[in-house]
Symmetry: C2
Subunit: 209 residues, 2 copies
Protein backbone atom coordinates (compact mmCIF):
# COMPACT_ATOMS: atom_id res chain seq x y z
CA UNK A 1 0.00 0.00 0.00
CA UNK A 2 1.58 3.23 -1.19
CA UNK A 3 1.33 6.40 0.90
CA UNK A 4 2.09 9.71 -0.80
CA UNK A 5 3.92 12.11 1.51
CA UNK A 6 3.22 15.65 0.31
CA UNK A 7 5.87 17.88 1.83
CA UNK A 8 8.38 15.05 2.32
CA UNK A 9 11.28 17.48 2.38
CA UNK A 10 9.88 19.54 5.24
CA UNK A 11 11.09 19.02 8.80
CA UNK A 12 8.27 16.69 9.80
CA UNK A 13 8.28 15.06 6.36
CA UNK A 14 11.93 14.09 6.53
CA UNK A 15 11.54 12.40 9.92
CA UNK A 16 8.38 10.65 8.76
CA UNK A 17 10.09 9.39 5.60
CA UNK A 18 13.09 8.07 7.51
CA UNK A 19 11.23 6.37 10.34
CA UNK A 20 8.46 5.07 8.13
CA UNK A 21 10.72 3.66 5.43
CA UNK A 22 12.79 1.92 8.11
CA UNK A 23 9.57 0.49 9.57
CA UNK A 24 8.76 -1.03 6.17
CA UNK A 25 6.02 1.34 5.02
CA UNK A 26 5.88 2.18 1.32
CA UNK A 27 6.16 5.97 1.57
CA UNK A 28 6.45 7.88 -1.71
CA UNK A 29 8.21 11.19 -1.18
CA UNK A 30 6.69 14.05 -3.16
CA UNK A 31 9.26 16.81 -3.63
CA UNK A 32 9.28 19.93 -5.76
CA UNK A 33 12.96 20.11 -6.60
CA UNK A 34 14.77 17.22 -8.36
CA UNK A 35 17.81 18.03 -6.20
CA UNK A 36 15.82 16.76 -3.22
CA UNK A 37 15.56 13.26 -4.72
CA UNK A 38 18.87 12.03 -3.36
CA UNK A 39 18.02 12.18 0.32
CA UNK A 40 15.03 9.90 -0.16
CA UNK A 41 16.60 7.57 -2.69
CA UNK A 42 19.41 7.03 -0.17
CA UNK A 43 16.73 5.78 2.25
CA UNK A 44 15.45 3.41 -0.42
CA UNK A 45 12.20 5.34 -0.71
CA UNK A 46 10.39 6.01 -4.00
CA UNK A 47 10.35 9.67 -4.99
CA UNK A 48 8.14 11.71 -7.30
CA UNK A 49 8.98 15.23 -8.38
CA UNK A 50 5.76 17.23 -8.50
CA UNK A 51 4.38 20.63 -7.61
CA UNK A 52 1.14 20.95 -5.65
CA UNK A 53 0.12 23.71 -8.04
CA UNK A 54 0.85 21.68 -11.16
CA UNK A 55 0.00 18.26 -12.58
CA UNK A 56 -0.48 15.68 -9.80
CA UNK A 57 -1.32 12.62 -11.92
CA UNK A 58 2.04 10.90 -11.59
CA UNK A 59 2.25 11.69 -7.88
CA UNK A 60 -1.14 10.11 -7.15
CA UNK A 61 -0.80 7.07 -9.43
CA UNK A 62 -1.43 3.91 -7.38
CA UNK A 63 -1.63 5.80 -4.11
CA UNK A 64 -3.95 4.58 -1.32
CA UNK A 65 -3.05 6.95 1.51
CA UNK A 66 -1.93 10.57 1.63
CA UNK A 67 -0.12 12.61 4.26
CA UNK A 68 -0.26 16.38 3.75
CA UNK A 69 2.59 18.01 5.63
CA UNK A 70 3.46 20.63 3.04
CA UNK A 71 2.97 24.26 3.73
CA UNK A 72 4.59 27.54 4.09
CA UNK A 73 4.02 27.49 7.85
CA UNK A 74 2.67 30.37 9.89
CA UNK A 75 5.69 32.64 9.48
CA UNK A 76 6.02 33.00 5.70
CA UNK A 77 4.15 35.16 3.21
CA UNK A 78 0.38 34.91 3.09
CA UNK A 79 0.46 34.37 -0.67
CA UNK A 80 2.14 31.03 0.10
CA UNK A 81 -0.41 30.37 2.83
CA UNK A 82 -3.23 30.88 0.34
CA UNK A 83 -1.63 29.06 -2.57
CA UNK A 84 0.09 26.14 -0.80
CA UNK A 85 -1.45 25.56 2.63
CA UNK A 86 -4.94 26.25 1.33
CA UNK A 87 -5.21 25.84 -2.42
CA UNK A 88 -2.51 23.17 -2.71
CA UNK A 89 -4.30 21.20 -0.02
CA UNK A 90 -7.62 21.63 -1.83
CA UNK A 91 -6.13 20.40 -5.11
CA UNK A 92 -4.71 17.33 -3.38
CA UNK A 93 -8.07 16.64 -1.69
CA UNK A 94 -9.79 16.82 -5.10
CA UNK A 95 -7.27 14.34 -6.46
CA UNK A 96 -7.66 12.06 -3.42
CA UNK A 97 -11.41 12.06 -3.99
CA UNK A 98 -11.09 11.28 -7.69
CA UNK A 99 -8.82 8.36 -6.91
CA UNK A 100 -10.83 6.92 -4.01
CA UNK A 101 -7.98 7.27 -1.52
CA UNK A 102 -8.67 5.24 1.63
CA UNK A 103 -7.12 7.65 4.15
CA UNK A 104 -5.98 11.28 3.93
CA UNK A 105 -4.01 12.49 6.95
CA UNK A 106 -3.82 16.27 7.20
CA UNK A 107 -1.22 17.98 9.36
CA UNK A 108 -3.21 20.95 10.56
CA UNK A 109 -2.50 23.20 13.55
CA UNK A 110 -3.74 23.61 17.07
CA UNK A 111 -6.52 26.24 17.15
CA UNK A 112 -7.29 25.83 13.45
CA UNK A 113 -10.79 25.06 14.70
CA UNK A 114 -10.99 28.54 16.25
CA UNK A 115 -8.75 30.91 14.28
CA UNK A 116 -9.88 34.03 16.14
CA UNK A 117 -8.91 32.37 19.45
CA UNK A 118 -5.29 32.21 18.32
CA UNK A 119 -2.61 34.87 18.68
CA UNK A 120 -3.38 37.83 16.40
CA UNK A 121 -0.40 37.26 14.11
CA UNK A 122 -1.36 33.64 13.50
CA UNK A 123 -5.04 34.24 12.75
CA UNK A 124 -4.80 34.53 8.95
CA UNK A 125 -2.74 31.31 8.86
CA UNK A 126 -5.21 29.53 11.14
CA UNK A 127 -8.08 30.72 8.93
CA UNK A 128 -6.42 29.04 5.95
CA UNK A 129 -5.85 25.79 7.87
CA UNK A 130 -9.43 25.85 9.14
CA UNK A 131 -10.74 26.21 5.60
CA UNK A 132 -8.57 23.35 4.28
CA UNK A 133 -9.71 21.15 7.17
CA UNK A 134 -13.37 21.95 6.50
CA UNK A 135 -12.99 21.19 2.80
CA UNK A 136 -11.32 17.86 3.62
CA UNK A 137 -14.08 16.94 6.09
CA UNK A 138 -16.79 17.72 3.57
CA UNK A 139 -15.02 15.95 0.69
CA UNK A 140 -16.15 12.43 1.48
CA UNK A 141 -12.50 11.28 1.59
CA UNK A 142 -11.80 9.27 4.78
CA UNK A 143 -9.57 11.57 6.82
CA UNK A 144 -7.68 12.26 9.99
CA UNK A 145 -6.93 15.86 10.89
CA UNK A 146 -3.97 16.13 13.24
CA UNK A 147 -3.53 19.45 15.04
CA UNK A 148 -0.14 19.67 16.70
CA UNK A 149 0.76 22.44 19.10
CA UNK A 150 3.77 24.69 18.63
CA UNK A 151 6.42 22.60 16.90
CA UNK A 152 9.92 22.23 18.32
CA UNK A 153 13.07 20.48 17.16
CA UNK A 154 13.50 18.80 20.55
CA UNK A 155 14.09 15.08 20.67
CA UNK A 156 10.85 13.14 20.66
CA UNK A 157 9.66 11.58 23.90
CA UNK A 158 7.18 9.22 22.28
CA UNK A 159 4.57 10.49 24.73
CA UNK A 160 1.74 12.89 24.00
CA UNK A 161 -1.67 14.13 25.04
CA UNK A 162 -4.62 14.75 22.73
CA UNK A 163 -6.36 17.62 24.47
CA UNK A 164 -5.01 20.93 25.53
CA UNK A 165 -6.33 20.38 29.06
CA UNK A 166 -3.88 21.59 31.68
CA UNK A 167 -2.19 24.74 30.29
CA UNK A 168 0.67 24.18 32.75
CA UNK A 169 1.62 21.16 30.63
CA UNK A 170 2.66 23.53 27.83
CA UNK A 171 1.46 23.70 24.24
CA UNK A 172 4.49 22.41 22.35
CA UNK A 173 5.36 19.13 20.68
CA UNK A 174 8.57 17.93 19.02
CA UNK A 175 8.30 17.36 15.27
CA UNK A 176 9.69 13.86 15.87
CA UNK A 177 6.62 12.99 17.93
CA UNK A 178 4.31 14.39 15.24
CA UNK A 179 6.07 12.13 12.72
CA UNK A 180 5.56 9.10 14.98
CA UNK A 181 1.91 10.01 15.39
CA UNK A 182 1.54 10.14 11.60
CA UNK A 183 3.04 6.64 11.33
CA UNK A 184 0.62 5.34 13.94
CA UNK A 185 -2.31 6.90 12.05
CA UNK A 186 -1.15 5.44 8.72
CA UNK A 187 -0.88 1.98 10.23
CA UNK A 188 -4.29 2.21 11.90
CA UNK A 189 -7.79 2.00 10.47
CA UNK A 190 -9.58 4.79 12.28
CA UNK A 191 -10.77 7.77 10.23
CA UNK A 192 -13.10 10.73 10.72
CA UNK A 193 -11.19 12.15 13.66
CA UNK A 194 -9.76 15.60 14.42
CA UNK A 195 -7.05 15.29 17.05
CA UNK A 196 -5.04 17.87 18.98
CA UNK A 197 -1.50 16.69 19.67
CA UNK A 198 0.78 18.02 22.39
CA UNK A 199 3.56 16.63 24.52
CA UNK A 200 2.18 14.60 27.37
CA UNK A 201 2.40 11.40 29.35
CA UNK A 202 0.70 8.77 27.16
CA UNK A 203 2.55 6.61 24.63
CA UNK A 204 1.63 7.76 21.11
CA UNK A 205 -0.08 4.58 19.92
CA UNK A 206 -2.15 4.37 23.06
CA UNK A 207 -3.10 8.06 22.85
CA UNK A 208 -4.28 7.64 19.23
CA UNK A 209 -5.98 4.24 19.67
CA UNK B 1 -38.83 38.29 4.83
CA UNK B 2 -35.63 39.90 6.08
CA UNK B 3 -32.43 39.71 4.03
CA UNK B 4 -29.17 40.48 5.78
CA UNK B 5 -26.76 42.38 3.51
CA UNK B 6 -23.22 41.71 4.74
CA UNK B 7 -21.02 44.41 3.30
CA UNK B 8 -23.86 46.88 2.80
CA UNK B 9 -21.48 49.82 2.81
CA UNK B 10 -19.36 48.48 -0.06
CA UNK B 11 -19.84 49.74 -3.59
CA UNK B 12 -22.12 46.89 -4.65
CA UNK B 13 -23.79 46.84 -1.23
CA UNK B 14 -24.82 50.49 -1.39
CA UNK B 15 -26.46 50.12 -4.79
CA UNK B 16 -28.18 46.92 -3.70
CA UNK B 17 -29.51 48.57 -0.53
CA UNK B 18 -30.83 51.57 -2.42
CA UNK B 19 -32.48 49.73 -5.29
CA UNK B 20 -33.76 46.90 -3.12
CA UNK B 21 -35.24 49.12 -0.44
CA UNK B 22 -36.98 51.21 -3.11
CA UNK B 23 -38.34 47.99 -4.61
CA UNK B 24 -39.90 47.12 -1.24
CA UNK B 25 -37.50 44.39 -0.11
CA UNK B 26 -36.70 44.21 3.60
CA UNK B 27 -32.92 44.54 3.40
CA UNK B 28 -31.05 44.81 6.71
CA UNK B 29 -27.76 46.62 6.24
CA UNK B 30 -24.91 45.11 8.24
CA UNK B 31 -22.19 47.72 8.77
CA UNK B 32 -19.11 47.75 10.94
CA UNK B 33 -18.98 51.40 11.84
CA UNK B 34 -21.91 53.16 13.60
CA UNK B 35 -21.11 56.25 11.47
CA UNK B 36 -22.32 54.26 8.45
CA UNK B 37 -25.84 53.95 9.92
CA UNK B 38 -27.08 57.25 8.60
CA UNK B 39 -26.86 56.46 4.90
CA UNK B 40 -29.13 53.45 5.31
CA UNK B 41 -31.51 54.95 7.83
CA UNK B 42 -32.08 57.77 5.33
CA UNK B 43 -33.22 55.11 2.86
CA UNK B 44 -35.61 53.77 5.48
CA UNK B 45 -33.64 50.53 5.76
CA UNK B 46 -33.01 48.71 9.03
CA UNK B 47 -29.34 48.69 10.06
CA UNK B 48 -27.31 46.48 12.36
CA UNK B 49 -23.81 47.35 13.51
CA UNK B 50 -21.78 44.16 13.61
CA UNK B 51 -18.35 42.84 12.75
CA UNK B 52 -17.97 39.63 10.74
CA UNK B 53 -15.23 38.62 13.16
CA UNK B 54 -17.31 39.27 16.26
CA UNK B 55 -20.73 38.36 17.63
CA UNK B 56 -23.27 37.88 14.81
CA UNK B 57 -26.34 36.97 16.89
CA UNK B 58 -28.11 40.32 16.58
CA UNK B 59 -27.28 40.60 12.87
CA UNK B 60 -28.80 37.19 12.09
CA UNK B 61 -31.87 37.46 14.35
CA UNK B 62 -34.98 36.82 12.25
CA UNK B 63 -33.04 36.67 8.98
CA UNK B 64 -34.22 34.39 6.16
CA UNK B 65 -31.83 35.34 3.36
CA UNK B 66 -28.22 36.52 3.31
CA UNK B 67 -26.16 38.39 0.72
CA UNK B 68 -22.42 38.30 1.27
CA UNK B 69 -20.79 41.17 -0.55
CA UNK B 70 -18.21 42.04 2.09
CA UNK B 71 -14.57 41.62 1.45
CA UNK B 72 -11.29 43.27 1.13
CA UNK B 73 -11.28 42.74 -2.64
CA UNK B 74 -8.36 41.45 -4.65
CA UNK B 75 -6.15 44.48 -4.19
CA UNK B 76 -5.83 44.79 -0.41
CA UNK B 77 -3.68 42.91 2.08
CA UNK B 78 -3.89 39.14 2.17
CA UNK B 79 -4.48 39.17 5.92
CA UNK B 80 -7.82 40.83 5.12
CA UNK B 81 -8.42 38.30 2.36
CA UNK B 82 -7.92 35.45 4.82
CA UNK B 83 -9.81 36.99 7.74
CA UNK B 84 -12.70 38.71 5.95
CA UNK B 85 -13.23 37.21 2.48
CA UNK B 86 -12.51 33.71 3.76
CA UNK B 87 -12.97 33.38 7.51
CA UNK B 88 -15.67 36.04 7.79
CA UNK B 89 -17.59 34.26 5.05
CA UNK B 90 -17.13 30.92 6.83
CA UNK B 91 -18.43 32.35 10.11
CA UNK B 92 -21.50 33.76 8.36
CA UNK B 93 -22.13 30.41 6.63
CA UNK B 94 -21.96 28.65 10.01
CA UNK B 95 -24.48 31.12 11.36
CA UNK B 96 -26.72 30.74 8.31
CA UNK B 97 -26.68 26.99 8.80
CA UNK B 98 -27.51 27.25 12.52
CA UNK B 99 -30.45 29.49 11.74
CA UNK B 100 -31.82 27.50 8.81
CA UNK B 101 -31.49 30.38 6.34
CA UNK B 102 -33.46 29.70 3.17
CA UNK B 103 -31.04 31.34 0.68
CA UNK B 104 -27.43 32.52 0.96
CA UNK B 105 -26.21 34.53 -2.01
CA UNK B 106 -22.42 34.77 -2.19
CA UNK B 107 -20.73 37.42 -4.31
CA UNK B 108 -17.70 35.49 -5.50
CA UNK B 109 -15.45 36.25 -8.44
CA UNK B 110 -14.95 35.07 -11.99
CA UNK B 111 -12.30 32.34 -12.07
CA UNK B 112 -12.75 31.50 -8.38
CA UNK B 113 -13.44 28.01 -9.69
CA UNK B 114 -9.97 27.87 -11.20
CA UNK B 115 -7.64 30.11 -9.18
CA UNK B 116 -4.50 29.04 -11.02
CA UNK B 117 -6.12 30.01 -14.32
CA UNK B 118 -6.33 33.62 -13.16
CA UNK B 119 -3.69 36.35 -13.45
CA UNK B 120 -0.77 35.58 -11.14
CA UNK B 121 -1.39 38.52 -8.82
CA UNK B 122 -5.00 37.53 -8.27
CA UNK B 123 -4.38 33.84 -7.56
CA UNK B 124 -4.15 34.05 -3.75
CA UNK B 125 -7.38 36.06 -3.67
CA UNK B 126 -9.11 33.60 -6.01
CA UNK B 127 -7.91 30.71 -3.83
CA UNK B 128 -9.65 32.32 -0.84
CA UNK B 129 -12.88 32.88 -2.79
CA UNK B 130 -12.76 29.30 -4.12
CA UNK B 131 -12.44 27.95 -0.57
CA UNK B 132 -15.33 30.08 0.73
CA UNK B 133 -17.49 28.96 -2.20
CA UNK B 134 -16.65 25.30 -1.56
CA UNK B 135 -17.47 25.62 2.13
CA UNK B 136 -20.80 27.25 1.28
CA UNK B 137 -21.65 24.52 -1.23
CA UNK B 138 -20.87 21.79 1.28
CA UNK B 139 -22.69 23.50 4.14
CA UNK B 140 -26.18 22.33 3.31
CA UNK B 141 -27.38 25.95 3.21
CA UNK B 142 -29.36 26.69 0.01
CA UNK B 143 -27.07 28.96 -1.96
CA UNK B 144 -26.36 30.91 -5.09
CA UNK B 145 -22.76 31.70 -5.95
CA UNK B 146 -22.49 34.70 -8.26
CA UNK B 147 -19.16 35.20 -9.99
CA UNK B 148 -18.95 38.62 -11.62
CA UNK B 149 -16.15 39.60 -13.95
CA UNK B 150 -13.95 42.62 -13.42
CA UNK B 151 -16.09 45.22 -11.69
CA UNK B 152 -16.51 48.73 -13.07
CA UNK B 153 -18.30 51.85 -11.90
CA UNK B 154 -19.94 52.30 -15.31
CA UNK B 155 -23.65 52.84 -15.46
CA UNK B 156 -25.57 49.57 -15.52
CA UNK B 157 -27.07 48.40 -18.80
CA UNK B 158 -29.43 45.87 -17.22
CA UNK B 159 -28.08 43.32 -19.70
CA UNK B 160 -25.65 40.50 -18.97
CA UNK B 161 -24.37 37.12 -20.05
CA UNK B 162 -23.73 34.16 -17.77
CA UNK B 163 -20.83 32.48 -19.48
CA UNK B 164 -17.50 33.88 -20.48
CA UNK B 165 -17.98 32.59 -24.02
CA UNK B 166 -16.79 35.07 -26.60
CA UNK B 167 -13.68 36.79 -25.15
CA UNK B 168 -14.24 39.67 -27.57
CA UNK B 169 -17.30 40.55 -25.49
CA UNK B 170 -14.98 41.61 -22.64
CA UNK B 171 -14.83 40.38 -19.08
CA UNK B 172 -16.20 43.36 -17.16
CA UNK B 173 -19.50 44.17 -15.54
CA UNK B 174 -20.77 47.34 -13.85
CA UNK B 175 -21.40 47.02 -10.11
CA UNK B 176 -24.90 48.37 -10.74
CA UNK B 177 -25.70 45.32 -12.85
CA UNK B 178 -24.32 42.99 -10.17
CA UNK B 179 -26.62 44.68 -7.66
CA UNK B 180 -29.62 44.17 -9.98
CA UNK B 181 -28.66 40.54 -10.41
CA UNK B 182 -28.57 40.12 -6.62
CA UNK B 183 -32.08 41.56 -6.38
CA UNK B 184 -33.32 39.16 -9.04
CA UNK B 185 -31.75 36.23 -7.16
CA UNK B 186 -33.26 37.32 -3.83
CA UNK B 187 -36.71 37.57 -5.39
CA UNK B 188 -36.42 34.19 -7.09
CA UNK B 189 -36.59 30.68 -5.69
CA UNK B 190 -33.75 28.94 -7.51
CA UNK B 191 -30.78 27.76 -5.45
CA UNK B 192 -27.81 25.45 -5.92
CA UNK B 193 -26.37 27.44 -8.83
CA UNK B 194 -22.95 28.92 -9.52
CA UNK B 195 -23.24 31.68 -12.12
CA UNK B 196 -20.66 33.73 -13.99
CA UNK B 197 -21.88 37.27 -14.64
CA UNK B 198 -20.53 39.59 -17.32
CA UNK B 199 -21.94 42.38 -19.43
CA UNK B 200 -23.92 41.01 -22.33
CA UNK B 201 -27.09 41.21 -24.33
CA UNK B 202 -29.71 39.46 -22.19
CA UNK B 203 -31.95 41.24 -19.67
CA UNK B 204 -30.82 40.29 -16.15
CA UNK B 205 -34.00 38.51 -15.02
CA UNK B 206 -34.14 36.49 -18.19
CA UNK B 207 -30.45 35.59 -17.94
CA UNK B 208 -30.89 34.36 -14.36
CA UNK B 209 -34.23 32.63 -14.84
Amino acid sequence: MTTLVIGANGKIGRILMERGTKAGLELRAMVRDPAQRERFEAMGAPVVVADLLDDLDEAFAGVEQVVFTAGSGPHTGLDGTLLVDLHGAVRSIDRAKDRGIRHYVMVSAMRAGDPLGGPEKLRPYLAAKDAADRILRASGVPYTILRPGRLTDDEGSGKVRTSRGDPAAGNTIPRADVALALLALLEGDATGRTIDLLSGGTPIREALA
